[in-house]
């Protein structure tokens, strides 16, 4: 049974300094549209969308500009009003070159929305169709098209779990969303529950987010089918498998998905997008982003248009300090270091971190001390030191037998290794090789 106030969690994990104080008390600011946006055709897992416009087309904010292509893909809408200046390749925040639509912004903004739907009378099918039309992708990292997640193949879903953990250091956007849009989150969760015909909703939140827990609890006092479960503050508490283990004590087996154990997990931001798409007819054209780190002059929680170049956001936040060393998109544990600041934010961008030399620690790598610290913290009970070693020796088959493909690349092992061995980097490499072995 689940009780209030019980500190639940999983085995393993780490407690890095959270640095949330830099932005946790800052309300969202809305950033005006930049001069130009670069909208990648592929902001999601799966096939890139097919462009519907040409060079020179005038588009309105919210207008469909690229269409879902295949089952796993997502629609893309213009995030500004303006003129398409070209469709060509551009660097994106994952370090890849992707086909993108460049739009020059017009001063006079015009909106193009879908009709609002009545959230009381809506059917499960209508919910899914709207989520699909609005091009909503999951905001938890993988950017999986949301409607696909809501169409589990013939499985009974008894729980919809909202991920309010935000366990990555620095990031506070989910926390701010929970405080500023409490009721909309609950309505969004209700809609998801309806879409998959689940009877129970759970919001799992790390126990350091007291204000969010209190606000949600208050708002939930007259809902009996949704409960809040405060969880231990620990990384990676927000990883799907870890969260499911903590809140309903089920283990998702290697290679399986949450629906295999009867639940569906959505991110806080996704839930709000779903609510907005249904009740207001808004497609997903903005991203809620935390801009933080000791290297940025004015840390902010920001609502920015999809396609805004990183450099514009950084300048909007007062620019950077001179001892800046790294700029990361995402959190410091799993985010990606940037080498080109013209890359645009996408639907799934959660944060931009500007880290200085004191925050990015670089120790010398030494031999493995066989201390077992990596084994101790791996949430998936893997043996990172052995997996890394096997990869170095190109023994991918053995690594596969020891579960290398199960690794979720959370980086916990690397964080904790006193010898500073880049374990997850090796494992990532070994994982790719092991996956290509036909078994």
């Amino acid at each position: 049974m689940l009780f209030f106030n019980q500190k639940k969690t999983f085995r393993g994990g780490i407690h890095p300094n959270t640095y949330k104080e830099l932005t946790e008390d800052l309300s969202f600011e809305i950033m005006p549209p930049p001069k130009q946006v670069i909208i990648p055709l592929s902001q999601h897992t799966g096939k890139p969308a097919k462009p519907l416009i040409n060079k020179g087309t005038k588009v309105k904010t919210g207008e469909l500009i690229a269409e879902q292509d295949g089952y796993i893909s997502a629609n893309i809408h213009s995030s500004v009003t303006g003129k398409v200046i070209k469709i060509s390749s551009a660097v994106n925040v994952n370090g890849f070159i992707k086909e993108s639509i460049f739009i020059e912004t017009d001063e006079n903004e015009e909106f193009c929305k879908m009709p609002s739907l009545n959230i009381e009378a809506i059917t499960a099918e209508e919910i899914k169709t709207r989520i699909k039309d609005a091009g909503i992708v999951g905001l938890g990292g993988a950017a999986f098209p949301a409607y696909v997640k809501l169409s589990p193949p013939d499985k009974k879903i008894d729980y919809v779990i909202l991920n309010g953990c935000e366990c990555e250091p620095y990031l506070t956007r989910d926390y701010r969303l929970m405080i500023e849009r409490t009721d909309d989150i609950i309505s969004g969760l209700k809609l998801i529950m309806k879409a998959v015909n689940a009877s129970k909703g759970i919001i799992g939140i790390e126990d350091n987010k007291i204000e969010a827990i209190n606000k949600l609890k208050k708002a939930l006092s007259n809902y009996s089918d949704i409960s809040i479960i405060p969880l231990k503050t620990k990384y990676p508490q927000g990883a799907e498998k870890m969260l499911i283990k903590a809140v309903i004590n089920r283990e998702v087996p290697p290679g399986k998905l949450p629906f295999d154990v009867g639940c569906i997990i959505h991110n806080i931001g996704t839930t709000i997008s779903i609510y907005d798409a249904i009740s207001k007819g808004e497609p997903q054209i903005t991203a809620a982003i935390t801009v933080s780190g000791k290297g940025i002059n004015k840390p902010k929680n920001l609502i920015a248009r999809v396609g805004t170049p990183l450099i514009d956001i950084i300048n909007f936040c007062g620019g950077i300090k001179s001892n800046t060393k790294k700029i990361i998109v995402g959190g410091p544990m799993m985010g990606i270091a940037q080498y080109d600041l013209s890359a645009p934010v996408t639907k799934a961008t959660s944060g931009i971190l500007v880290l200085n030399d004191e925050e990015v620690t670089n120790f010398k790598e030494t031999n493995c001390l066989r201390c077992g610290k990596c084994v101790e913290v791996c949430p998936l009970n893997l043996i990172p030191t052995r997996l890394a070693r096997l990869t170095q020796f190109k023994k991918y088959e053995d690594a596969k037998n020891l579960g290398i493909t199960v690794c979720m690349e959370c980086g916990t092992c690397t964080y904790n290794c006193p010898a500073n061995i880049p374990l997850v980097q090796w494992i990532r490499l070994g994982k790719q090789k092991a996956m290509s072995i036909i078994s």
Binding site: K245, K325, T366, C371, L382, I383
Partner: protein, 319 residues
């Protein structure tokens, strides 16, 4: 306003971008710090000469490592602090007033055979300090079992260790001097208080995994307790076993050596219990009064096997 050119100055590397504040070097210096109470207790009970033994041991450990790395033309890694730790550990498990020449030889053996022969830090199978001591035991059997009388000893005749006194003369040393350290024994092994001070510190900062000392202590109480219950007149009581000889020092500083102990939690329990079992067997039925060194060395050899047998079940995996 920053411009796009700024990109060129950014550092690139893959996630994670932050790291715990622990490094090999820092860990080693914390271990050195944790060994200080034991070193000080050795100096208090046996005199300042003991400091010289430890310094000679450290010096020859470092020099040996340096020379071997140079000869092999590999990167000199003495700044990681591991040679210093080995040096102190070896010094502290030698008898008081031991010969400096022999100490130097032991230190050279520790590093050359115990560590570098296997490929250096991380690759050795046996605890280097114990390898050095085992070598000295073989090379200098008499000197290695000649014990100085502690400075504040009330007993003016005997300087034997509690274990030898019990084994050969059935004299049971009282608990209080064993806890304080005012008894015969190796330089750093006599004072339980000093050892626990350093040991608890290492557990508190999570360098030492509590499972190993705890399982050793449990194991010792269990195995020696069984014998004691069978015949309390013939076999020493568990508390005596805990505080006598090198048990505590071994439990907190030797068996817990990262490189030569298991990496899995279950493995640590097995390792600790097995060491205690072997100690009890040697102390009770063997020809030697002490057995900590051999017990740990024997179990060191089983670590790869233990690691393999105790591989944890992958999350969500059904057996």
């Amino acid at each position: 306003m920053i411009s796009l050119e700024f990109s060129n100055k950014l550092e690139l590397s893959s996630s994670p971008h932050i790291h715990s504040k622990w490094s090999t070097k820092k860990v080693m210096w914390f271990v050195v710090l944790a060994l200080m109470p034991s070193l000080i207790s050795g100096i208090i009970f046996f005199g300042t000469y003991q400091l010289l033994i430890v310094l000679v041991s450290i010096f020859f450990c470092i020099t040996t490592e340096f020379c071997i790395k140079k000869i092999r033309k590999s990167k000199v890694t003495i700044d990681d602090g591991s040679a210093v730790v080995t040096g102190i550990l070896l010094g502290l498990i030698l008898p008081p007033n031991f010969s400096l020449t022999a100490t130097a030889l032991g230190a050279i053996f520790s590093i050359a055979i115990g560590k570098e022969l296997f490929g250096g830090l991380g690759f050795n199978i046996f605890n280097p300090a114990l390898i050095g001591r085992a070598f000295l035991q073989a090379a200098y059997p008499v000197a290695m079992t000649t014990w100085s009388k502690p400075n504040f000893s009330v007993d003016t005749i005997t300087s034997a260790t509690p274990l030898a006194a019990y084994k050969f003369d059935k004299v049971l040393t009282q608990l209080k001097p064993m806890i304080i350290g005012n008894i015969g024994g190796s330089i750093g092994e006599t004072s339980a208080i000093a050892i626990l001070l350093g040991g608890f510190f290492l557990i508190a900062v999570k360098i030492v995994n509590w499972r190993i000392p705890l399982s050793m202590i449990f194991g010792m109480i269990l195995f020696s307790g069984i014998l004691w219950l069978i015949d309390p007149l013939k076999y020493a009581n568990p508390l005596f076993h805990l505080f006598a000889g090198g048990f505590l020092f071994g439990a907190f500083f030797m068996a817990t050596d990262w490189v030569t102990s298991p990496i899995t939690s279950k493995g640590m329990w097995i390792f600790g219990f097995a060491i205690s079992l072997i100690i009890v067997v040697i102390r009770t039925f063997g020809g030697l009064p002490e057995g900590v060194m051999y017990a740990i060395l024997i179990m060191n050899a089983f670590v790869p096997l233990i690691n393999r047998l105790t591989k944890p079940k992958i999350f969500g995996e059904q057996k």
